[in-house]
């Protein structure tokens, strides 16, 4: 219940303030934003730039990226480590919130340090009046060791965000990078 509502709530709040926020200079820690504030899933046929991001235990290579507002960027995310990692585009506050969700998914056994429990993630939780606890936010990919995943994103606003891994402990240990969207 909680996850579903907070996403909707965040989205409606974001819609309200985004109209006002267009001319506000970008800062790192926006309050109450959702991914819709800085973009949307991009169209693979419009990709203007591609980045290769390598995931290791527990850090990214590279750790800083720069794009132009209006670009559609393809991230090719490859996990060269032995642990499960995430590549998630968002602000500091979004990551903090998502860390709580990931912690819950770990406690419930949907995620392990080395992989995803696909069966559990697709379970129908409606009987327990819980939402489907899939990890299907469009601004994020979970990549198992040895795998490669792609994320295509259209950035429409100048902003400074982070790409981060919200698996418990990884962000705190420094698995986070900076992405600046310039004018």
């Amino acid at each position: 219940m909680k996850i579903f509502f907070s996403r909707n709530l965040a989205a409606s709040v974001a819609l309200t303030i985004s109209i006002v926020a267009i001319n506000v200079p970008s800062t790192l820690a926006h309050e109450g934003l959702a991914y819709q504030d800085f973009g949307e899933p991009g169209d693979a046929s419009n990709v203007t730039r591609t980045f290769e991001i390598d995931l290791y235990d527990n850090y990214y290579e590279p750790e800083t990226l720069e794009v132009q507002a209006g670009e559609t960027v393809k991230f090719i995310v490859k996990n060269g480590g032995e642990l499960l990692h995430e590549f998630n585009l968002g602000t500091v506050d979004m990551h903090v919130a998502h860390q709580k969700e990931m912690r819950m998914m770990m406690d419930h056994g949907m995620l392990t340090p080395t992989g995803m429990n696909h069966q559990m993630m697709n379970m129908d939780h409606s009987a327990m009046s819980m939402p489907a606890m899939k990890h299907d936010d469009p601004n994020s990919v979970l990549v198992e060791p040895g795998e490669t995943k792609e994320l295509v994103w259209h950035f429409h606003t100048p902003i400074a965000v982070e790409f981060a891994c919200n698996i418990p402990g990884h962000y705190e240990a420094g698995m986070v990078g900076e992405l600046e969207v310039k004018q």
Binding site: E82, L83, E172, A173, G174
Partner: protein, 555 residues
């Protein structure tokens, strides 16, 4: 700048600086001098034993793969030694008199030579007599060639220790004469009447009789009292301070270099992410508090974002004192210092049934176990490394997460996981009243060495038949703790075993020669909780040549 320091360093050693400073490398050669110096952490000048004039001694910084030459000079009038705690090296370099070598005689310099084969935070200390208690200890940092699996902007070594104004030999004599000499919080008549009003006469009398028959008291958590607890050689008033800039990630290398003290460490207002345990990378665990046993190390990352002072608070497990330092934007600042929490009481759960072997069972018929019915076994955390209902089971002061051994998973396992080839049971035993501590009921001077074969994987079961926590340390080889994480079981060098529990660890026997194995509580080790471990076989050049070091280790 480095060259200038290289010129000044020998002068600093000669004139005995009292500031713990990083050792300067003479291209891989390090000079350590053990001697007497003055310390003032308890209100007046006392004589300590020190390394290069400071307590703790200088932090040794090595690089992974460096060929080390360590020249240790003894200016005392008794033998001394330095043991490199947690380091993998040829057994002759391990620094234990009677097992590795003959010790360092007065007015001589002994040279240790070995390569730095690993990375992380470790420490060194004397393995002669009770010199470790008197101040002969310091930190070791081995920097990796590549990058580490975590990021930080700056780092600090945080050595926690215990200082006593009493001479260590006097402390030991006191313990032998009267084992509860330092138990200042014996239960009083006031406790008796309070319990009567809470539980009634019958239960209270029965409880006192039960404990009395075991000749134990539930308040007996720490053997030694009267300590001043130090952070990097400074007492709480002296307030050792680490500087940071808000937003930085700071790495804190916690080392418990104390003789007898378990510290519960927290930084109110700041979460800590544990990234290394005993020098080995672990999958990062964010916690609010952790317990560091004697001789263990934990590396944590903190990220203070506010421009204010945070208190680094290390409360001893018995809750009779604390070590304290600060993390602050500027020197001279300090945060609020928390009050000590209530002293824990051991419970019947901490009394292992193994210890009943030697007891007169007839007197136990009348033991009133009904008071255990109401014991809330689910309370006080569910750490599987404490007996259910244990009085020592830790909880975080802020109600948050307290680190458990069960949380530690290797970031990258050191050894391939395989079935052990043999199991050895090691019973941790003791007679508190006579202050005799032993292994399998036998003290060191009466015992045979433990013999292992090169190439084995031995599974040890530590069965704690006492009511004290024992941090067991095997020299020269890793102890792979079985905490249920299979191939991710972490490699450690100290395994702390709580009362009434059995803990398993496995060792890949890959270091030929003779090694020490003992409880790292200094006075327990001195009282007999020690064994020599002989590893038979292995590469010809590295083997122990029979006879040379077969006499008893001098403790």
């Amino acid at each position: 700048m480095n060259r200038l320091i290289a010129w000044l360093a020998p002068l600093a050693i000669v004139f005995g600086s009292t500031v713990a400073a990083p050792m300067v490398a003479y291209a891989g050669s390090y000079e350590l001098t053990i001697g007497e110096s003055t310390i003032n952490v308890s209100g007046s000048d006392k004589t300590a034993l020190s390394v290069n004039g400071s307590v703790p001694g200088p932090t040794l910084r090595f690089k992974e793969g460096e060929d080390l030459t360590l020249n240790v000079t003894n200016t005392l009038d008794v033998d001394t030694s330095i043991h490199w705690h947690g380091l993998i090296l040829p057994f002759q370099q391990d620094g234990v008199p009677g097992i590795s070598f003959e010790g360092i005689k007065p007015d001589t310099t002994h040279t240790y030579r070995f390569p730095a084969q690993q990375t992380g935070t470790y420490w060194y200390h004397s393995h002669s007599g009770l010199q470790e208690q008197a101040g002969v200890y310091g930190a070791i940092v081995i920097e990796p060639k590549g990058r580490e699996p975590f990021r930080f902007n700056r780092e600090y070594v945080v050595v926690l220790s215990d200082w006593s104004d009493e001479k260590p030999e006097a402390i030991f004599a006191n313990l032998k004469r009267q084992s509860d000499y330092y138990n200042y919080s014996q239960r009083t008549v006031f406790d008796f009447f309070r319990d009567v009003s809470l539980k009634g006469w019958k239960k209270t009398v029965a409880d006192r009789v039960d404990w009395g028959e075991m000749r134990m008291t539930p308040t007996d958590i720490a053997d030694v009292g009267g300590y001043t607890f130090l952070v990097n050689g400074k007492n709480p008033e002296q307030n050792w301070t680490a500087l940071f800039e808000p937003g930085e990630r700071v790495r804190l290398r916690f080392i418990n270099a104390s003789a007898m003290t378990f510290f519960d460490v927290r930084i109110p207002g700041l979460q800590m992410t544990v990234v290394q345990a005993d020098g080995q990378n672990v999958q990062p665990v964010p916690v609010d508090e952790f317990r560091i046993a004697v001789a263990e190390t934990y590396d944590v990352i903190v990220r203070p974002r506010e421009e204010k002072a945070f208190t680094i608070f290390a409360e001893n497990m018995a809750r009779t004192g604390y070590a304290r330092g600060s993390l602050a934007p500027r020197q001279g600042m300090s945060g609020e210092v928390p009050d000590l929490r209530e002293s824990p009481l051991l419970t019947m759960a901490d009394m292992s049934h193994g210890s009943m072997q030697g007891m007169d069972h007839s007197s136990m018929q009348g033991m009133d176990h009904s008071s255990m019915q109401g014991m809330d076994l689910s309370a006080a955390g569910s750490d599987p490394f404490y007996a259910p209902g244990s009085g020592l089971s830790p909880t975080a002061a802020n109600g948050g997460k307290f680190l458990s051994y069960a949380d530690l998973k290797a970031q990258k396992p050191l050894y391939e996981d395989r079935e052990p080839t043999r199991e050895i049971e090691v019973r941790l035993t003791g007679n508190m009243e006579r202050y005799i501590w032993s292994i399998d009921g036998v003290k060191f001077s009466d015992a045979e060495p433990i013999r292992l074969k090169y190439g084995e994987r031995v599974r040890f079961a530590f069965v704690n038949e006492t009511m004290m926590t024992h941090p067991m340390h095997l020299h020269g080889m890793w102890s792979i703790l079985d905490n249920g994480n299979d191939k991710w079981n972490p490699a450690m060098h100290v395994v702390s075993v709580s009362p009434g529990t059995t803990v398993h660890m496995e060792t890949e026997v890959d270091a030929p020669g003779a090694w020490a194995f003992h409880c790292h509580l200094l006075y327990h080790m001195a009282a007999g909780m020690f064994r020599k471990v002989i590893v038979e076989g292995g590469p010809q050049s590295a083997q122990l040549n029979g006879g040379a070091l077969d006499e008893q280790a001098s403790l």
